[in-house]
Symmetry: C2
Subunit: 553 residues, 2 copies
């Protein structure tokens, strides 16, 4: 009797870096390979990946990687993980848009040999002891799927991100019929999206946004800038449609906006009538009331097009009084300040700003509580393990499962690294496996514990003093004046005085060392460090890094 193990490596107790290992009969399918963005404490870190140590020893056991959809928190870590998994040869499967986005990412990393395969929802693949099927779902990006992994114990259904949009922009609602069928056949375990379990009712349909955008546009006399996630192709479609209805041309601004619109058009997800698009340079040739700019920057990202416009630093779009900026997105938690700063700079210019608080110009891509319950009732899983949410949301999701009749003992509130082991007799958590964060810094990967981060925090808090002491190898006496260099230590008017004190301290330390017959460079360096750190703290009441360097000549 083969056991089944479902091991989340990311996305539980957090929002982001979703990644799950499903293991059966010694073989592995990985569902999603997502990333997170660093918090300010992770100084200088570029990206955060799930710790995938569990897979390093198991590369040969991987049957496939499956990606539910094209968002960074589900797809973004793919090139990094593949690059680092030595000997990885397994195929990668995803729907058409995530495949195109994955290809673009892999190309950027020069990973052109990956066996990347576009599959359609409904298609069933046999992967060793698993069957794999994508079930079409609706979300804020086209070609989103749930993943159904069939095993001899039953089906594991991982929903990915979803909402039950009854009137999606492309007319393709989620395949509730197939979900119900899977439910009738018997779903062993449901791992469902928890992002919006704390919102009551049903989420509004994406297609309600279009008419509201048109209403807002109709009141605007100047230029209009709409900012949204570049991957929200259907939102872009609705902006284009609203612009067309009001006789405005559309310009795309921001690299990822142009790229995603290109991919979306090539896959037929986006229809832009001939002549609607104008280049950013042509904006100034058109009357203000004939332009809609679609721009990146809805999260207040420092280098984004909208942020540049707000700070009057964009080469092609110069905003002015009477222009309107529509935020067709809500800030991701943590981005509120950056978004508010951007909005306030726009007000300072004299623009009007419309956010989802002012008009329904945004709809979430994640289902609310009633949708989560509908999913549970359609699929009728034996076991439930909530996914994609902080601990609060995982608990609320568990309460919803209980409310629709799942026995409490069959509901598992998990954590990253905590495997759910299932066999014919039942299910339960196994011993925790390694999990956590891997940091990307430039092109390198590394661990949280790296001392460099502590150093960076220290450097960024108080700066650094470097004191170079040159001594003679023979007798340890100083043969050159100590060099004192500091960086990141502000407001140091009295620098000369402090430098002089540092020189005196060095001399005293050296003569004390000579008296104590200390000759080892390491010991001398430690002595200098202690004496100098004390001096600097006494003078500055700060603790910059103090780095004595002893050179013997």
């Amino acid at each position: 009797m083969a056991d089944l193990r479902v091991l989340p490596l990311g996305g539980l107790g957090e929002i982001g870096k979703n990644m799950t290992v499903v293991e059966h009969d010694g073989r592995i399918v990985v569902v999603d390979v997502g990333l997170r963005f660093p918090t300010p404490e992770m100084v200088g870190i570029d990206l955060v990946l799930p710790d995938f140590a569990y897979l390093r020893e198991r590369v040969d056991d991987i049957e496939a990687i499956v990606v539910t959809h094209g968002h960074e928190d589900h797809l973004g870590a793919l090139p990094w993980v593949i690059r680092e998994l030595e000997g990885f040869q397994a195929p990668v499967y995803a729907g058409p848009l995530p495949t195109a986005m994955a290809r673009s990412k892999l190309d950027e990393h020069k990973l052109r040999d990956v066996d990347l395969n576009e599959i359609e929802a409904g298609e069933v693949l046999e992967l060793g002891p698993f069957s794999l099927e994508l079930v079409h779902m609706t979300h804020s990006i086209p070609d989103s799927s749930a993943v159904a992994l069939g095993t001899e114990l039953g089906t594991v259904l991982i929903t990915g991100d979803y909402k039950f949009d009854q009137t999606p922009v492309d007319g393709q609602p989620a395949d509730v019929s197939r979900l119900a069928e899977l439910g009738r056949e018997g779903v062993l375990l449901l791992c469902g999206d928890s992002t919006n379990v704390d919102r009551d009712g049903f989420s509004p349909s994406e297609s309600v946004v279009g008419p509201h955008l048109e209403e807002v546009f109709a009141r605007c006399r100047g230029r209009i800038v709409v900012t949204s996630f570049a991957s929200n192709i259907h939102r872009v479609q609705q902006v284009v449609d609203a612009a067309e209805a009001l006789g405005r041309k559309v310009a795309l601004v921001g690299r990822s906006m142009r790229k995603n619109v290109g991919i979306g058009r090539s896959l037929g997800h986006l229809e832009i009538p001939e002549g609607m698009l104008v280049g950013p340079r042509e904006i100034s040739d058109l009357p203000d009331e004939r332009v809609v700019v679609i721009s990146t920057g809805s999260q207040g990202e420092p280098l984004s097009a909208l942020r540049r416009m707000a700070y009057r630093d964009h080469r092609q779009v110069e905003l002015k009084e009477g222009d309107t900026v529509v935020f067709s997105a809500t800030p991701i938690p943590g981005n509120e300040r950056a978004v508010n700063e951007t909005i306030d700079r726009l007000y300072h210019i004299g623009c009007d700003v419309i956010t989802p608080r002012d008009a329904p110009v945004h709809a979430s891509g994640h289902g609310y509580a009633e949708e989560v319950k509908l999913m549970l009732n359609l699929v009728k899983p034996r076991y439930v393990m909530p996914f994609h949410g902080d601990f609060k949301r995982l608990r609320l999701h568990a309460q919803l499962a209980e409310a629709v009749g799942v026995p409490p003992e069959n509901i598992f509130q998990g954590d990253n690294g905590l495997p759910l082991d299932i066999d014919k007799r039942g299910a339960g958590f196994g011993a925790p496996e390694q999990s956590g964060m891997i940091f990307v810094d430039g092109v390198e990967l590394g661990e949280m514990a790296d001392v460099a981060l502590r150093d960076r925090r220290m450097l960024s808090a108080d700066g650094i003093f470097i004191v170079v002491v040159t001594i003679a190898e023979q007798d340890g006496r100083s043969v050159a004046d100590p060099e004192v260099i500091f960086r990141g230590v502000p407001f140091l008017d009295e620098a000369d005085e402090l430098e002089e004190e540092i020189r005196l301290t060095v001399e005293e330390s050296l003569s004390r060392a000579a008296g104590d017959r200390v000759r080892e460079v390491d010991v001398l360096t430690d002595m200098l460090h202690d004496d100098l750190a004390k001096l600097v703290y006494d003078r500055l009441r700060r603790r910059p890094m103090v780095l004595p360097v002893v050179v013997e000549v």
Copy 2:
């Protein structure tokens, strides 16, 4: 004819660091001396003060500093500004609680000679060409006042932070009668709080919070922790009352909570029945259902008591499943992530968490749009200059003023450093004066432009390489192996290899320098920097600070 000038040095186009210079007949009254907290980009900075350069040359013209209330954004910069204003001798005036809080701050800075004076609302002082009167207002801290400065041109009314709470906890509503009287006598200029102009209607009364707290408490079976701003004395009172009604004792946790409760009790703002307070150590001796802890940390502050509890790192309070934490406060913009992290750690422990989204356990201290309009109608100002708000709120406040009938040409949407000059003929903005941010770093003050901040950002992003090169003074040849030290450069497995390459690069640079007959240390250092920076970037694809140090012996 003496002119009147109202010059905001902080609080316009931002929320925080409120400070205003009112100038008449060559004499100055300063209203509020507040601070802001730094944003993450201000690496290592502790506090942000308004740039008060305007006052440095005018110290002898200052008649007084007046403080409207005891919050940091109105009072917090007082000791710093007084310390830095050479020759400052003028009196400081405030109501009883802000006076006590100011005294405590000045004591901490060893500024014991400041002429600090407690005054009562309604008392009228003559200060050179000004009359000064505090008008009692309601806010989220006791003893809040508006400041009425009478001049021969008319009265300038600066509201400070306020709401029109008709049922305040201490039974002392705002003195609308005096405001109306001032209005009848003729207010020349109203500078009003804009914090909540974007909220419709009237703000709920502080006293509605108490019954809701009691309802929430009544449902709790375990221990209860309530977190709120320590200065919100009336909130603390209501928590105590609710605890008493349900037979629970109260423990105060967090330094500022104990300090503010002490001040509040000594001034009679807080009544705690005999025997209600227990020490934090006694908590574990009481049954869970007999305890309410009032704690700091409502903003997720890293070292706060609640944050420590959430991370199971508090010495006296160890939370467990079944305990309830009530956030009787909303996150200040920018603190959302820290607050959410704290909440989620509490869920992870198994606590229940109640926030103002779940129950009305918080009331804002700032009046909503209808209150702002009421203020305008009571005071009937000739001119209006909205205060305390980002540019969006200043504009909305201006729209409200227009809605109640103030002519648009009499409404001034200002900015920090932009003086409003008024004489008998009219009012208008004068030429901008110096304004901006002053940074506090440890005990030192300094300017934004300080190169140290750029250095810190660079250090925190990518770390630092230090390469010490020792050359002979006579001929410039290397007399010791280059020392290579790096800090904050992570994941450097190949350090040895890179160190070796650095040594080779140093040798090449030195021999090239010798060939070019370069002997000046500065030029040599620049050459080394360019060569080494290129090498490091080629190898790491990062740009750490590269700091060659040339020592001549």
